[in-house]
């Protein structure tokens, strides 16, 4: 699922390069899954591991999906981690009125934060990095205020069951993530809005001169990112039964890492939705494999290695990306 704005079909080497850039993560994912299955056997390839893994990953996936769209416009959304906490707290507070109310309220709270981000970025023309940095601070404060500075605990009932329910062996959260990614990929590739997002990221001025509604599209991207992060918060709250004060901390960077590993360029204008899914799965799978490796008992890799390995992985991906971009530029010049 690769998407570039320029028609690169003519230049074959470029296409192969882009393909590698995209599919590198997928190849690594497949290799790791095969490795895990061979090494850890039945324990790894069980329905239980699949279910808990996808249920856990779903929250990061939803956040990364929103981040993908934001990054494709050339922006960034650092506030998502705090929005996860806010969405979770709001959902838990509202969930006494029923599951649906909680789900909607949590998502709406996230969308509202996204609207604030979008307004500040498009109307006041402030830099996305700093605007969302400020909302990162403010929204966490808001979430803590709403929660009364303690962990917000959900009342037992439908809301808590949302985290337990599963369909065909996969938890609801995983289905929600898959659904969201498929819709996201469809929207990016087959709707005018999706093309606009890429056009803005490719060249804002050109997009504006073409008469595209730049401000409106940018605004909607941040609303989407906020809503998805709020929704991730709802799932976090329903899976844990509570949202603690540190919920979602640092998720923005995990999401950015996943998007970059997936091959979306931070400069905007180029990107792929399903690759971000691969990126999220890959980064989470590393963690999953470390758990299993420890379970074997031969060695004891502390969880601290997890961040080192993730960082090293990001390094390799980034260096590969740089090479490919350079090659692409060289090809563009010669053409």
């Amino acid at each position: 699922m690769t998407t570039t704005l320029e028609g690169t079909a003519r230049r074959r080497p470029v296409q192969i390069g882009l393909l590698l850039q995209r599919q590198g993560a997928l190849i690594a994912l497949v290799v790791l899954v095969v490795f895990g299955t061979l090494r850890y056997g039945e324990n790894f390839a069980t329905g239980f591991n699949l279910s808990s893994f996808t249920g856990d990953t779903a929250k990061y996936g939803l956040v990364a999906l929103g981040m993908t769209f934001v990054i494709m416009t050339g922006g960034i959304d650092l506030s998502v981690g705090s929005v996860v906490a806010l969405g979770g707290v709001v959902a838990i507070k509202v969930s006494e009125h029923g599951l649906l109310a909680g789900l909607l309220a949590g998502t709406a709270a996230g969308a509202a934060v996204g609207a604030v981000n979008g307004t500040l970025i498009t109307r006041l023309r402030l830099q996305p990095f700093i605007v969302t940095l400020a909302t990162l601070l403010a929204v966490r404060g808001l979430a803590l205020t709403l929660a009364g500075t303690r962990a917000a605990v959900a009342a037992p009932g439908d809301f808590q069951k949302l985290g337990d329910w599963s369909l065909l062996g996969l938890p609801v959260a995983a289905w929600a993530m898959l659904f969201a990614f498929l819709v996201g990929a469809g929207v990016l590739n087959y709707t005018a809005w999706g093309r606009r997002v890429l056009a803005i990221g490719g060249n804002v001025d050109a997009a504006r001169l073409m008469g595209l509604p730049v401000a409106r599209t940018t605004f909607s991207v941040y609303v989407l990112s906020g809503a998805l992060a709020g929704c991730a918060g709802v799932f976090l709250g329903s899976q844990n039964g509570s949202v603690d004060t540190a919920a979602g901390q640092g998720w923005e960077l995990t999401a950015i890492a996943a998007v970059v590993v997936g091959g979306t360029l931070l400069t905007g204008g180029v990107g792929s939705v399903l690759s971000s899914l691969v990126g999220v799965l890959l980064l989470q799978l590393i963690f999953n494999l470390i758990v299993f490796e420890n379970g074997k008992g031969f060695i004891n890799i502390s969880s601290f290695w997890e961040s080192v390995i993730r960082g090293a992985f990001l390094l390799v991906v980034v260096l590969l990306q740089v090479r490919l971009v350079k090659r692409r530029r060289a090809a563009g010049r010669s053409a």
Partner: protein, 355 residues
């Protein structure tokens, strides 16, 4: 507050086409240069310029006066030196490094993790009976190495600064935790902990260090070729490179500076708490430092470095936080207000660009 733009400092820089109505010539009427001020627009432009340049300082003065009147015991050395400035000093030191990196058009997200690594390295060496000077030098060398890693990715490989420093932000914390397996190490070595606990002349050592760092950085930015190159690279990198500025080396050096300053603050942090804690040292420091630089009106796009602005921004944000908390505002609400202040500061900055 001193600010200089690439346009002022580098004659060969085509960035000079951007009118800089104030620059260093604050005394002259603002709209005298190339920007034709609309009739009646003059005072407004001047006001917003003033607000942008001195907004943080003005806010600091207002907060200070308010506290002097409304907060009991605020005007005591105990409160000023040992609470406000002692808390603000680490942020100010990191913010100075951050300001230089931002001046080149970059950003350094890894400072918190570098703090943790430096703290762990220093504390571990001291706890293994190494001389304290060796521990400090080793910790700073490791931080310089971290900065060089960031700088190499940015300058040689052309990786975007956010992503390049994100790598060390993620991996660095794990590295710091691995040094001691994530365990807390209690410290008691007065020589090593001098930078965090000593109070020469009745002033906390970290406050003195912060002042020294700021003065040196200010002089470097003002008087040295490196200072001018930083502004040139941040103002217009292509132009700077064409004019013969060694852009890659300048950027590398900027990240190394930021790394070393972060490492220094890491040593201060473990010394002041008498414990090295890889899990918590420097968490969130990158946000504090960036916010301090941003409220002082330094554009994140590069080309301008305001060393004193970063210091004022750090002290102002800390005082704002302390004021709200001492007056019974919950910490969470204080956080919301802090976010609003950062946005307001940016908005003022935006006004200037439009003018």
């Amino acid at each position: 507050m001193t600010e200089r733009r690439a346009a002022d400092s580098h004659p060969a820089d085509p960035g000079a086409t951007t009118p800089d109505p104030v620059g260093q010539r604050v005394a002259e009427p603002a709209a005298d240069a190339t920007a034709p001020a609309p009739p009646g627009g003059g005072p407004r432009v001047q006001w917003s310029l003033w607000a942008q340049r001195y907004g943080a300082l003005a806010a600091l003065v207002v907060l200070f006066v308010y506290n002097a009147v409304a907060t009991p015991y605020f005007l005591t050395p105990q409160s000023l030196l040992f609470i406000l400035l002692r808390q603000a000093a680490p942020i100010a030191i990191v913010a100075v490094g951050m300001a230089i990196v931002i001046g080149t058009g970059g950003i350094d997200l890894s400072v918190g993790s570098v703090m943790a690594i430096a703290g762990q390295v220093g504390a571990s060496l001291v706890l293994h009976d190494q001389p304290f000077l060796l521990a400090i030098v080793a910790a700073l060398l490791v931080s310089a190495l971290c900065g060089a890693f960031n700088g190499t990715l940015v300058a040689r490989f052309g990786v975007q600064p956010i992503i390049a420093t994100l790598i060390l932000f993620i991996a660095g914390r794990g590295i710091a935790q691995l040094i001691t397996n994530g365990e807390l190490q209690p410290l008691s070595n007065p020589d090593f902990q001098w930078i965090g606990l000593a109070r020469p002349f009745g002033v906390p050592a970290q406050v003195i260090i912060a002042v020294v760092v700021a003065v040196v950085a200010w002089l470097v930015m003002r008087l040295t070729v490196f200072g001018r190159y930083v502004l040139a690279v941040g103002g217009n990198e292509t132009a700077a490179r064409l004019a013969g500025v060694p852009a890659a080396r300048v950027k590398l050096l900027a990240y190394v500076t930021s790394g070393v300053l972060a490492g220094l603050v890491g040593l201060i942090a473990v010394s002041a708490t008498s414990a090295s804690d890889a899990n918590n040292t420097g968490v969130g420091m990158e946000l504090d430092a960036i916010a301090a630089v941003a409220v002082a009106g330094t554009p994140l796009t590069g080309g301008r470095v305001t060393v004193w602005g970063a210091v004022v921004g750090a002290v102002m944000l800390k005082l704002l936080q302390n004021t709200l908390i001492t007056h019974g505002v919950p910490k969470e609400v204080a956080q919301i207000i802090e976010g609003a202040v950062i946005v307001a500061a940016l908005w003022l900055q935006r006004q200037e660009t439009r003018a």
